[in-house]
C-alpha cells in the first residue's frame, strides 16, 4: 500500500478543513488588502457560490411556493375568522343604529303626543309554541309606575293595554288578544266600531264589531282609536282593514283588520299614563287611574 493511499483519508480531511479556512479568510478581507492567493480563492469560490445559490433558489423557490400555499390556507382561515368577527360587529352596529332610529322616532312621538307617556323596554315575550306568534309582551314598568288598563303604544300604533303586574314588571295584553276591545274609527269616512282581537294562533288579526252594513268601508282603510269612552287616546293608528264581508242580511258587516304594529319586533313602547288634556294621575296602587273600567279594554 502506497503512502498516499494509506493516508488518503487524513489528507482529504485536512484539505476539507483548510480550504474553507482560506475561503473565509479571503472572503472576509477588504478587497484592497487581498493577496494574489486570496484573489485566486475568491475567483474559485465565486462560481461555486453562484451555482449553489442558483440551485437553492430553484429548489427553495418551489418549496416556498408550496409553503406559501399552506400559509395562504392559514391566511384564508384568519381572514374568514376576521370576516365573521366584523360581520358580528357590523350586526351590532346595525342593531345600535336601528335602536337609535327607534328611539328618535319615539322621542318625536312623545313630543307630538299631547298626553303623558312613560317609556318602557320590552323585556319578555309570550310566544305560542311552534307558531312563533307573540301573545303578550312584558315591559319593565311595574305597579308602582303604571296602572292596569293603561294603553300601550309605539310610534307605529296601538300595542294594547297593561294587563297584569309582576313586581316591577307588567304584561301587556295585545290588541289581537281575544279579550281585548278598542273603540275605533275608520279614518276615511268616520264609521265607528269596536276592534276586537280574534286570538288566532297562527296570525295577528282583529275584527271590527258593530260596524254597520251601511258604512262604506274597503280593504286598506286605516283604523284609528276613536277616543270613545276615554280609555284610549284619540287618533292612534290601530291597523288597516284586510277583508270586508258584507252579507245580504243582518245589521253589521264582518271586517278583519291587520294590526299596524308588528308585535314580533317590539323593543320599546310607551305607556299612556294620562290622555291629552288630562292631568297625570298619581302613580302606585290606588293612585293610578283604573282605565279598564270604561271605554273599552278587556272583557
Amino acid at each position: 500500500m502506497s503512502f498516499l493511499s494509506r493516508y488518503k483519508d487524513v489528507f482529504i480531511a485536512i484539505l476539507a478543513l483548510v480550504i474553507p479556512f482560506f475561503f473565509l479568510k479571503a472572503n472576509l478581507k477588504d478587497p484592497a488588502q487581498m493577496t494574489p492567493f486570496d484573489r485566486v480563492v475568491v475567483t474559485i469560490s465565486t462560481p461555486l457560490q453562484w451555482a449553489a445559490t442558483a440551485v437553492i433558489e430553484a429548489v427553495g423557490g418551489a418549496w416556498n411556493k408550496y409553503v406559501f400555499l399552506i400559509d395562504l390556507q392559514a391566511e384564508n382561515d384568519r381572514l374568514r375568522f376576521e370576516n365573521q368577527r366584523l360581520r358580528a360587529e357590523n350586526g351590532l352596529f346595525f342593531e345600535t343604529e336601528q335602536e337609535a332610529r327607534r328611539l328618535r322616532r319615539m322621542l318625536t312621538f312623545k313630543e307630538t303626543f299631547g298626553g303623558s307617556l312613560r317609556a318602557a323596554r320590552v323585556v319578555g315575550r309570550g310566544v305560542v309554541p311552534d307558531q312563533f306568534r307573540i301573545v303578550r309582551v312584558r315591559i319593565d314598568l311595574g305597579e308602582q309606575e303604571i296602572a292596569k288598563g293603561m294603553p300601550v303604544v309605539t310610534f307605529d300604533g296601538l300595542v294594547g293595554q297593561v294587563n297584569r303586574f309582576f313586581g316591577s314588571y307588567s304584561d301587556v295584553m295585545l290588541t289581537v288578544d281575544r279579550t281585548s276591545y278598542v273603540p275605533v274609527v275608520v279614518q276615511r269616512n268616520g264609521a265607528q266600531g269596536i276592534l276586537r282581537g280574534t286570538g288566532e294562533l297562527d296570525r295577528y288579526t282583529c275584527e271590527v264589531e258593530y260596524l254597520l252594513r251601511s258604512d262604506e268601508v274597503r280593504e286598506g282603510d286605516q283604523l284609528f282609536t276613536s277616543g270613545a269612552g276615554g280609555k284610549f287616546p284619540e287618533g292612534i293608528l290601530v291597523g288597516r282593514i284586510a277583508t270586508v264581508q258584507r252579507e245580504n242580511y243582518g245589521l253589521f258587516q264582518k271586517v278583519t283588520v291587520e294590526p299596524a304594529v308588528n308585535f314580533s319586533r317590539l323593543h320599546e313602547v310607551f305607556v299612556v299614563t294620562a290622555l291629552p288634556g288630562e292631568e297625570e294621575a298619581g302613580a302606585g296602587p290606588g293612585g293610578a287611574p283604573k282605565r279598564d273600567e270604561a271605554g273599552g279594554g278587556q272583557r
Binding site: F23, S45, A52, V59, N64
Partner: protein
C-alpha cells in the same frame, strides 16, 4: 448514491429549517438540522475522508443558506465531524436520549467554534461572548430534532445498502 442521498437530505433539511424559521418567533429556537447530519456521520462509522468531504458540502450549503461569510459553516461542519469522530463517542450512542445529549454537546461545540472563527477574523471576542447563550439555545433546538434526523440517516443507509446489494446480485 449514498453520498448524493446524504447531501440531498442535508439540502432538504436546510430548506425546511429556513422555511420553519419564518413560523418560529425567535430565531434562536430554529434547529440546525443539517448539522445533525454531520454529527450523525461523526458518531457513526464514516471514514474521515468521506465524512469530511460530505460535511464540507453540507457546510458549504449552510453558508449559502445562512448568508454567512463563505467558508465559516464549511469549516465548522468539517471540524465538528472530525472532532466527533475522533472523540468516538458513538460507543455511548444508545437510544434517543443519548442522541439528544450528544447532539447538544456537539452542536454547542459547533456554535462555539463558529464564534471563535468569527472572532478570529473580526478581532472582537468580547461582543461574541454575548452570543454564547444563543449558541446554547440553538444547540438545544438542534438536539431536539436530532433523533428524527438520525432515523432519516439510518433509513437512508439501509435503503442505499439494499440497493447496492441488489445491484451486485444483478450484475452477477
Amino acid at each position: 448514491m449514498k453520498t448524493a442521498s446524504i447531501i440531498a437530505l442535508g439540502f432538504l433539511l436546510l430548506i425546511m429549517q429556513s422555511t420553519i424559521a419564518v413560523f418560529i418567533p425567535l430565531e434562536v429556537f430554529v434547529p440546525n438540522a443539517a448539522l445533525a447530519v454531520v454529527i450523525y456521520m461523526g458518531l457513526h462509522s464514516y471514514s474521515a475522508g468521506y465524512g469530511a468531504v460530505v460535511s464540507f458540502v453540507i457546510g458549504y450549503l449552510m453558508d449559502t443558506f445562512a448568508g454567512s461569510p463563505l467558508g465559516m459553516y464549511t469549516f465548522v461542519a468539517v471540524a465538528v465531524f472530525l472532532l466527533s469522530r475522533t472523540a468516538a463517542l458513538r460507543l455511548f450512542l444508545k437510544g434517543w436520549i443519548f442522541e439528544i445529549a450528544l447532539t447538544l454537546a456537539w452542536a454547542t461545540v459547533a456554535g462555539v467554534l463558529g464564534l471563535l472563527v468569527r472572532g478570529l477574523f473580526d478581532q472582537d471576542f468580547r461582543s461574541l461572548l454575548t452570543h454564547l447563550k444563543i449558541v446554547f439555545f440553538k444547540a438545544a433546538a438542534t438536539a431536539v430534532v436530532a433523533p428524527l434526523v438520525f432515523r432519516a440517516m439510518a433509513w437512508l443507509e439501509r435503503v442505499t445498502a439494499k440497493r447496492k446489494a441488489e445491484g451486485k446480485v444483478f450484475r452477477g
